[in-house]
């Protein structure tokens, strides 16, 4: 997996270089994600923002009919635009948290296993296999039944299970880098494992973690949204996109927009991040193709 | 003593166009001829364009590179304008190749015998099975593979590096080619194996009468097998001649420097001549002679920095040099090789 091209440039330079020559599809991806995120971040500063204010006299206002409620209102007369924005911040925040925690745990475990090898490697990767074999949904349902569902339970459960993919990649890279000559130098000098890993191995692995994380965002958003939808994640009255869909579903005949609008938001982010992350995977495929010649 | 011309390359340039549309020439106006049954060595260090030259001849340039000028005639037929289908028919039949890494030519998941059989069949598809098998065994015996019938049934990973290279040579010789192109065929191998592989190549050529273009950086190898030599530097041929004259009377300061920097028994323990600096990148070649910045020829002049020297007869028509001061190189060559 590792190769010199990947190791050569510092991460920042790689990101800049990647942004410079985007294809139209990739630009669409960036535009979609930026638009959705901007909407979520800006709306709370607008005068109409009131995600929790109920007004039963103005329930079920359809979108684009009332200037005060551009996206309409729900069954309790709450402003849908406000709830969509807040729900977006909640959903995306959870996704980011889950992905970052996973990447960090995976990277640390992978680096330790790959660099030290031997028994530590067997123990860590054996543990990873066990994690992988446990179905997340069943674990979450069981835990929710035991201690009651909550956002934090979902985040912790996902964080504890989803790092395995990251650990595998990090371990592979660490193992190949470990035997490169330039890593041998500090080892011969008697430098500590921390020195060697943090200076010579972690930077190369971090880039890969970033790429992996970017392609994971869409999947994790879908997963957490389905948990929200099932009532295993975010709890009302706090909105999230998954929760909004499930709330609106009861009124799907008289007010389909209540489910459709948050559904579109999820769709846009998933499509957007996938279009962007394709760049990295395509680049990687191209490189490995070039190596094979 | 001269035999008919088999391959004639004229003014061949290979390169790419950069973002501004300017040509970057990795191979620049290279020309040479290969006579039937003779051995031509293309000598140069990495980046000199020696491998790209032959890749262009074979129509095997890597993506992004193109032939910018020149002609390549094999038995009078222009290879550069030949349709891909006919070129492919020629490769592996009359033109055969051996590369540095035998695994580029071998399929790791197929038995070695089957791969050689495919080479035999490629151009004679209707050969009966028994005859193909017999030919495979015969070829493996010719390249010195012990117990060929048995070994033909094993996979490349079960073969050592030297044995794999023998198998590749067997494949190359399958259709009795007229020209064998060998690109650093022994570089990746141990010294004792190197010598064996060169012997195998010599034997194979002796039985088939094939000519050979040997691409290498190893002057020892060149001295042992070459008839003619082209010394390449920074994409151009800087000296061309027979092995006898080039080694004895270098007419280019680069050749003289290379010969001077050879570490040998006679100079053990003392300092060998070292060419200063390193070769220029293709995008940063100086306007004059590409070697000018590294040249220590006492007779070098301002001309070297401004005007690019063309290849022209130095001593006689068979010995050419691209140096403005080719008539003043002999003393320098003696001094650095002393």
């Amino acid at each position: 997996m590792t190769d010199t091209d990947l190791v050569r440039k510092p991460p920042a330079a790689r990101v800049v270089a990647a942004a410079a020559g985007l294809t139209p599809l990739e630009r669409t991806g960036v535009a979609l994600v930026t638009a959705v995120v901007l909407f979520c971040v800006v709306t709370p500063f607008l005068p109409l923002y009131a995600p929790y204010a109920q007004d039963l006299s103005r329930a079920f206002v359809p979108p684009l009919t009332d200037a005060a409620h551009p996206l309409g209102t729900d069954m309790l007369g709450r402003d849908l635009a406000s709830r969509l924005a807040l729900g977006g911040l909640v959903s995306l925040g959870i996704v980011l948290l889950v992905v970052v925690v996973n990447a960090i745990i995976g990277m640390v475990v992978g680096l330790l296993a790959g660099y030290h090898g031997g028994r530590l490697d067997n123990v860590l990767m054996g543990w990873a296999d066990v994690q992988l074999a446990m179905p997340v949904i069943l674990v979450l349902i069981a835990l929710s039944a035991a201690v009651g569902p909550s956002v934090w339970l979902m985040v912790v459960t996902l964080a504890a299970t989803y790092w395995v993919g990251y650990a595998r990649v990090a371990r592979g890279t660490a193992m190949t880098l470990r035997d490169r000559d330039f890593v041998l130098v500090p080892r011969i000098q008697g430098a500590s494992a921390t020195w060697t890993i943090s200076r010579h191995i972690a930077p190369g692995v971090a880039v890969q973690m970033l790429i992996l994380a970017s392609s994971d965002i869409g999947a994790v958003l879908l997963l957490t949204s389905s948990f929200d939808y099932l009532g295993l994640g975010v709890q009302p009255p706090v909105p999230s996109w998954g929760l909004l869909i499930s709330e609106g579903q009861k009124y799907i005949r008289q007010a389909p927009y209540l489910s459709v609008v948050p559904g579109i938001a999820i769709f846009l982010v998933v499509i957007g991040t996938n279009l962007i992350s394709q760049r990295f995977t395509a680049e990687r495929d191209l490189r490995s193709a070039r190596r094979r010649k | 003593m001269t035999t008919p011309v088999l391959l004639r390359v004229d003014d061949l340039s290979v390169g790419y166009r950069d973002a501004d549309g300017a040509e970057v020439r990795l191979v620049d106006g290279v020309g040479f001829t290969v006579h039937e049954g003779r051995v031509l060595c293309l000598v140069g260090e990495s980046g000199s364009g020696k491998s790209l030259t032959m890749a262009a001849v074979l129509g095997l340039l890597p993506e992004g590179l193109e032939v910018l000028s020149g002609t390549v005639r094999f038995r009078g037929q222009d290879l550069l304008t030949l349709p891909e289908r006919e070129l492919r028919a020629l490769r592996g039949n009359e033109l055969a190749m051996v590369f540095q890494d035998p695994m580029t030519a071998l399929n790791p998941v197929k038995r070695v015998g089957a791969q050689i059989a495919r080479a035999v069949r490629a151009h004679h598809p209707r050969t009966p099975r028994a005859q193909v098998l017999a030919r495979v065994e015969e070829l493996l015996t010719e390249v010195g593979v012990p117990d060929p019938a048995e070994r033909a049934r094993s996979y490349p990973h079960q073969w050592s590096g030297g044995m794999r290279q023998r198998a590749v040579i067997a494949m190359a010789m399958a259709n009795r080619p007229a020209l064998l192109i060998a690109d650093e065929p022994t570089t990746a191998l141990d010294v004792t194996i190197q010598a064996q592989i060169m012997d195998v190549l010599a034997d194979a050529r002796a039985t088939s009468g094939a000519a050979m273009v040997l691409i290498t950086h190893d002057l020892g190898l060149v001295a042992q097998v070459a008839d003619e030599i082209c010394i390449m530097y920074a994409g151009r041929i800087v000296e061309r001649g027979t092995v006898w004259t080039v080694f004895d009377e270098a007419r280019h300061p680069y050749t003289a420097g290379l010969l001077g920097s050879l570490l040998s028994a006679e100079r053990a323990g003392s300092r060998a001549y070292a060419i200063p600096g390193s070769p220029p990148a293709p995008t940063r070649r100086p306007p004059g002679c590409a070697f000018a910045t590294r040249c220590e020829l006492p007779a070098r002049s301002e001309l070297c920095g401004t005007t690019r020297p063309e290849l022209r007869p130095a001593a006689d028509v068979t010995h050419e040099s691209a140096c403005h001061h080719a008539d003043r190189t002999l003393e320098f060559a003696r001094a650095v090789t002393a």
Partner: protein, 267 residues
């Protein structure tokens, strides 16, 4: 002549698992004894798989010997406490074959050369400049990264790094075989200069016999984990005793066309 490096009856074995039960033991280094005298160059010649890489790794403590010992500057490494061992090991440094994989592509030249100093807690920026000058590089290369250098310059950077802790012994693992012909002589000359100036002792590992003959005072020939022949350079090259040494010598192509079979007489 006092010995700076002594390898005494060293055995290194690897066990590889075969199937469920079977184990096979590989004797990578099988009873090797070598002595490197102060200021001397000992050439170690052998083909791939002869065990020379394992031997080097064992000298640097990356492999544990099954038996035998490695002594550096009179100190027996086996059984030495880690701290003391590190101290002794700082007087032996390694120069690698491949100048492309031996320098971390992310790091600047300054940090590459400074790394051993920093690990040993003896970092001083002037020392880096001094080291670069020692190998013929200007101080202004410090902020550049390895990708901007040619193979020969990279090898100089690697040598500068190896000199950082003022070692007495350099283990040169095929230091010129990955370099272009026109650059090899530069690096060989540099190594000879450094040896003269700094009084270094070299363990020079190579398969290129011409380079070995050029640099070495004594030569050891290694095959299948054992030393088959040791001797003075001229004895080994002019009067080899072991048939393997003879066959190695016979396979060097001599860079003179008039010495090949069937050559015409030199005019």
């Amino acid at each position: 002549m006092s010995a700076v490096l002594e390898i005494d009856d060293l055995h290194v074995r690897f066990t590889s698992r075969r199937g469920l039960r079977g184990r096979s033991v590989v004797h990578a280094v099988d009873g090797v004894s070598l002595t490197l005298g102060r200021g001397e160059t000992l050439g170690l010649v052998g083909e791939s798989g002869c065990g020379k890489s394992t031997l080097v790794r064992t000298v640097f403590g990356l492999n544990t010997p099954a038996s035998g010992s490695v002594s550096i500057l009179g100190q027996r490494m086996q059984g030495l406490a880690p701290a003391a061992r590190r101290k002794v090991l700082s007087s032996v440094q390694l120069v690698f074959q491949d100048p492309y994989s031996s320098l971390d592509p992310r790091m600047r030249v300054h940090d590459i050369v400074a790394e051993p100093l920093r690990i040993a807690g003896r970092y001083a920026p002037e020392r880096v400049v001094e080291l670069l000058a020692e190998v013929g590089l200007d101080a202004d290369v410090q902020q550049r990264r390895p990708a901007q250098f040619s193979g020969g310059q990279r090898q100089r950077i690697g040598i500068a790094r190896a000199l950082a802790l003022r070692p007495e012994i350099l283990v040169l693992d095929e230091p010129v075989s990955a370099l272009d012909v026109s650059v090899q002589a530069q690096v060989v000359n540099l190594l000879m200069d450094l040896q003269e100036r700094l009084g270094l002792s070299y363990l020079f590992i190579a398969h290129d016999l011409a380079v070995v003959r050029h640099l070495s005072d004594r030569v050891a020939v290694m095959r299948q984990g054992r030393i088959v022949e040791t001797g003075d350079r001229d004895q080994i090259f002019d009067a080899p005793r072991h048939p393997y040494t003879a066959s190695l010598l016979a396979s060097i192509p001599h860079p003179d066309p008039y010495l090949r079979p069937g050559a015409p007489p030199r005019p």
